[in-house]
Symmetry: C2
Subunit: 258 residues, 2 copies
């Protein structure tokens, strides 16, 4: 019979709690917390290692978690439902959490299909954008320091693990990365002078810039972008949700490059 | 000096509170609550009338609200900040709320560009989809009874007033509406047997079906759709956020019909 930890002074629990709470702690420790079978499986499928697994007794009785626990080479810790609920944002407990090392960011690509997020702050938007970007064939994502932390529980949940398979560079200096990029830098702007997305040649190496929810693309990045595009919209609407706009733009790039 | 209502037993306040809370009350009263200048202005711009305006003293000092209050032919009620905060979900008080009659649903279109939402439950998704649908030229939206209530505060906020300009039929019998539709009924499915979105002819009258977050399009509606399309995705990703998928699909319909 395995011991069930119910004390909030347990060091592994304390560590998990800290990294679930703030970006500062995640950065300091270099660790993130994955919640649920889907994310943990995506992590293992990507060939990555897990530091510590935390699960509940009820969780371990689910066959998919039992099966995963047998595969994982890591410290495992059975914790009480009460402790588990303080670590999870999900309304119904998944029963499984994993502490993992945040991957080292890749070297910046200078060609191919890159996405630049310029101050996208809403965690749900950032997560869903990563998921769509991966689906559309984006090879690398650069995020400015103002963007939501991609290793936060909310972004991990909305991204459904896209973070795990899609190389991302956080706190990126978008201007200097764009300067080094050998292909076309394109920014999506709410500007009548920009060219219609569907009448713009988006073939070949491309770095696509999407701006923040309220402000759009920053003036510095707008200046960097040789090509400015506008998603056509019916009169009477001011703008689209940034996630939806990203989906439309990235899929148009994909369509033109097939 | 205008009286400031601070009692929660004020009948107008009580009505506003009830309709802010549940769909049942909104349906019973036939009323919805608009929060903030943007939504109220969109409502007036559409030529619609307001039943009652509730504002705070601080709100009335903002020039755009002061200006709006002068235009509005309706009962106005100055309420305390404390009461206002119980009526608004927004973190910082907008200072302006309007009670309005929910519009009578239009007669169902049998041609043109229609969107069918089959069980989309997340309020943020439904709101953002309405906004994108309007931008893409959708002329009418049909929502099954399982969808989020489009007159709820969350959907109104995410839709940024698209509800006001885009005719919607809630609690719709999608199967019978689709049966009466004279054009192509197309459903987006996660099915390898479906045809590639970009290799499907989407020109002409079209009723496009998007399914729920977890389950996708219902079997009944999948059976109704003569054309089934799949949004192409990079291997390794299971699905897209339903809002992003809607944006991609509706804009592809728009692109082909330009």
């Amino acid at each position: 019979m395995k011991e069930i930890i119910s004390s909030s002074s347990n060091p592994q629990y304390k560590l998990a709690f800290k990294i679930s709470q703030t970006k500062r702690e995640r950065t300091k420790q270099g660790l993130a917390l994955l919640d649920g079978v889907h994310l943990v499986r995506a992590w293992l499928d990507a060939g990555r290692e897990i530091e510590t697994v935390l699960f509940t007794e009820a969780g371990a009785e689910k066959s998919e978690i039992e099966h995963l626990l047998q595969q994982i080479q890591a410290k495992t810790l059975c914790i009480s439902e009460a402790l588990f609920s303080t670590l999870s944002e999900l309304p119904s407990a998944t029963g499984l959490l994993a502490i993992v090392k945040i991957p080292t960011p890749p070297a910046a690509k200078v060609d191919g299909f890159c996405l630049l997020l310029d101050g996208v702050q809403d965690p749900g938007n950032v997560g869903a954008i990563l998921r769509t970007a991966f689906a559309a064939g984006v090879q690398q994502v650069w995020l400015s320091a103002q963007c939501a932390d991609i290793w936060s529980p909310k972004v991990l949940r909305a991204g459904m693990g896209a973070q795990v398979v899609l190389p991302c560079i956080e706190n990126a200096d978008l201007v200097s990365l764009a300067q080094s990029f050998k292909g076309q830098v394109v920014a999506s702007l709410l500007d009548e002078a920009a060219s219609d997305l569907y009448q713009t040649d988006l073939r070949g190496d491309i770095a696509f810039v999407m701006g923040s929810e309220g402000q759009g693309v920053s003036p510095e990045m707008a200046a960097m972008a040789k090509t400015k595009v506008l998603i056509p919209m019916q009169a009477g609407i001011e703008s689209l949700n940034v996630g939806h706009a990203s989906a439309i733009a990235l899929y148009e790039v994909m369509r033109q490059n097939r």
